[in-house]
């Protein structure tokens, strides 16, 4: 899922202080799971901003709302009328939600209330870890299901580096060395010999380095897109 973290109130306040009628709009999917941007967090943030406005003597109304998924038009459609009735939508969905909402709210601007951090997994309640870099070219089958792209500080494809120290990373001594984890896992799977194969340089253009990406699913997408072929990535 996408993991987000709410911006500090002071930063949010600086963004919104000149608006009179604001709605804090959450998303009940990924960012709700990481306790940063669901309907509950939207209510809490709205309450905090009302308190802040009272403290600062600013005449402002702050409401709250949420939809199930801000990154899909069919989920935001029913809320658009209400959103457009405000001077500002403060979205606490991920960046994808902010982008999509912004395309639909006409003259009402959409500001981000949280920072989209990473694609993560739940380590334990309230603890999320980055486990996928969305690099567009998955090699997890070669690395025992442990992603060296984000879990290795240097994104090494042929590790470990000389900085590995008793299973910890030289960049951060609290951080596990991803390549130690990979080796242990491959030993467990009895596939250690696979690691002797040298991985060639990665095609990073299929990740965020190659510009905006797009995936088109032929049997679902609208006709105008069908001509480009099945599940075709624009940058591939």
């Amino acid at each position: 899922m996408i993991v987000g973290k709410q911006k500090p109130i002071s930063e949010i306040w600086d963004m919104i202080k000149d608006f009179k009628k604001i709605i804090v709009f959450g998303c009940n999917t990924c960012v709700a799971v990481c306790h940063a941007g669901g309907s509950k967090e939207a209510e809490i943030l709205a309450s905090l901003l009302r308190i802040k406005a009272l403290q600062e003597g600013v005449d402002m109304t702050v409401e709250s709302g949420a939809c199930e998924r801000q990154c899909e038009p069919e989920f935001i459609q029913q809320h658009l009328e209400a959103l457009k009735a405000h001077d500002l939508v403060l979205s606490i969905g991920c960046g994808a939600g902010v982008n999509l909402l912004s395309a639909y709210t006409g003259n009402t601007p959409v500001f981000p209330g949280l920072n989209t951090e990473f694609y993560g997994a739940v380590q334990q309640a309230g603890h999320f870890i980055e486990v996928c870099g969305g690099c567009g070219n998955c090699i997890l089958h070669l690395t025992g299901g442990i992603c060296p792209i984000v879990r290795c500080s240097k994104s090494l494809l042929n590790g470990p580096c000389g900085g590995t120290n008793n299973g910890k990373c030289e960049i951060n001594s609290e951080q596990d060395c991803a390549w130690c984890l990979i080796i242990e896992r491959m030993k467990q799977l009895d596939k250690l010999e696979q690691l002797f194969a040298i991985q060639p340089p990665k095609d990073w253009s299929r990740g965020t380095y190659g510009g905006p990406r797009e995936v088109i699913v032929e049997h679902i997408a609208a006709d105008e897109k069908n001509s480009v072929g099945s599940t075709k990535e624009r940058k591939s």
Binding site: P8, I9, S10, K40, E43, I44, S47, L48, L49, R50, I51, K52, L54, Q55, G57
Partner: protein, 150 residues
Amino acid sequence: MAVEKPHAVPENFKPDVIAFACHYCAFAAADLAGIMRLTYPTGVKIIRMPCTGKLDHLYVLRAFENGIDGVFVAGCLEGQCHFREGNLNAAKRVKHIKTLLEQVGIDPERLAMYNLSAAQGPRWAEICTEFTERIRKLGPSPLRNKRQKA
């Protein structure tokens, strides 16, 4: 640095305090305090909860938004929660809400968590007195002043 902007404390200021009290301990302790004819400040208004684990951020924030001077949460002694760990979860939540309050200019000292057992009637009266005194020194909630002016 003070969290709240300096404001005058009126003479004879009597703080309004909300106590979120667990049904199994603090609320029973308050009951016992009553039976024992103990006196404690009248500004403390009790809201009974099935467990302090039920405490929601919004209960506290809305109370402050509406001008309450102080809020305390009273749960079972650590390790004695009727629902195993509701009081520990409440303590974590209180800690978090304190950081939120600080960010919007409300002194986190206006919120506190206490633990006591159902048998501690005198301790209940002591907590109410002690917390009310703390709030009396801090003065009225800055939001209460704002609301009165409005």
